[in-house]
Amino acid sequence: MGDHKINKTYQEINERIRKGKAVVVTAEEIIDIVREQGPVEAARSVDVVTTGTFAPMCSSGAFINIGHSKPLIRTTETWFNNVPAYSGVAAVDCFLGATQTSEDDPLNKLHPGEFNYGGGHVIQDLVAGKEIELVAKSYGTDCYPNRKIEKVVTLKDLPSATLCNPRNGYQNYNCAINRSDRIKYTYMGTLKPDMGNASYSTAGELSPLFNDPYLKTIGLGTRIFLGGAQGYVTWQGTQHKTAVDRGPNGVPLTPAGTLFVMGDLKKMSPEWLVGQSIRGYGCSLSVGLGIPIPILNEEMVKYTAVSDEEIFTQVVDYGHDYPEGISKSYGQVSYAELKSGTIMIQGREVQTVPLSSMVRARKIAAQLKRSIEKGEFLLGEPQHMF
């Protein structure tokens, strides 16, 4: 990584973690440390900075193997508590998507719909150990003659279940307003007409990819906190973008990087995988995600010291522009402004509404910090960068 005064390797940091000697701080704590000590001294003393975020991440789901029944079945359709899972994979394998609604959901027929139960809720019920009604159908073959099975299962009964989220941890996201004269029910929450509120959804200075804006330490094989267990970054997420406008600190000014993450659902907890019902929009899953950033040198510690005042996003109109695919910004605002409770848009003061839980994000960063300090969580050295 060029000419640095401090140079540490993953192996060296892991050795310190194993011995219980690693110095770990959260992405909030590192800000003042770097301000007081400067980047070189901070990089010398700190080994790992922990991040965290907890928000609805629609691109989530689980690959589930339901196990064989006698006679055998090659499932072509599968339902969990009446929520369909994609079954166009091998016999008794399926993918349950977080936003999939229950078969009898009235959707938006009476707008705005309530979306009380979907794939995200099934995933939360599974990790909570609840009983799930499982139904699967098939057309029947010589080798797999069974055409229908019905059983009640818990997560323990399923041979395997892997949380597999194609797009999590979005590096920055729009701040949403509604300039139309009607209330709008969106994935950015309820937006009151005539710029009645401005909604945003990131943990700001605690959010993983704001702390490593060029993904210099995050790649395939990075071990992460996922849904309460240890998971991995397994690829770049869908819609991952690197060629974007950035501030002088390298932080993107618009939505940019994303991560594809996976982990063993059986080890996860209902506290960190929470089914969501977004009024008028649909079902989703709030995912607890935390990434440890290794302080390999003073350059990395500078990135992790980024604060809300230095992270910006764009104000986008979800009343008209966004649904029409029009890319237009009504202003650039910092996360410090967004977190203050009001922002100024075109000379008007607008109330801000968070959708990402800072309380939970802090808890993840703190929990990850403790696990690393105790030697229970080792860094995964990435084998491929995005």
Binding site: V353, M358, V359
Partner: protein, 143 residues
């Protein structure tokens, strides 16, 4: 979970029929009879605490009205399930009185019952379904 205390008035002709048992049989609602007074000469009164999903509750009340029962309500209160609330903040977009607000810099969502107008918007807006409704002062309305 949705729970309300209903005050039901049964005209003498309706009082002869089996009515409230169907709330459980057909609408999956639990009820608890807090008080009842019936007569063949004047309207009977029954105070009923009904618990179930919001959707079933609405269907159940519609059924009662179709049977000729007059329905009125005890005073309501919004409550928050502290275990379910993730402190995301989505409710603060719709709360018209500021009863739900963000405490800074902690970014905790606080619920001030004193400011709540029981508009119920938070119940359908909360993505984690942490907000619920119940009736207060059950004792004061018993016949």
């Amino acid at each position: 979970m949705y729970s309300k205390i209903l005050i039901l008035y049964f005209p003498p002709v309706v009082a002869q029929n089996a009515v409230v048992c169907y709330l459980t049989k057909d609408y999956d609602l639990l009820f608890n009879i807090l008080g009842a007074k019936f007569s063949t000469k004047e309207d009977g009164i029954m105070v009923l605490e009904v618990t179930g999903t919001r959707e079933n509750y609405k269907r159940g009340v519609r059924y009662l009205k179709e049977q000729g029962v007059r329905v009125s309500y005890a005073e309501q209160e919004i409550w928050r399930d502290e275990d379910k609330c993730t402190h995301c903040g989505a409710c603060t977009a719709v709360c018209p009185t500021g009863a739900l607000s963000v405490k800074r810099p902690e970014m905790e969502i606080v619920f001030d019952k004193e400011k709540c107008s029981v508009c119920e918007l938070c119940i359908v807006t909360c993505p984690s379904r942490a907000m619920g409704l119940f009736s207060k002062n059950a004792e004061s309305i018993l016949p």
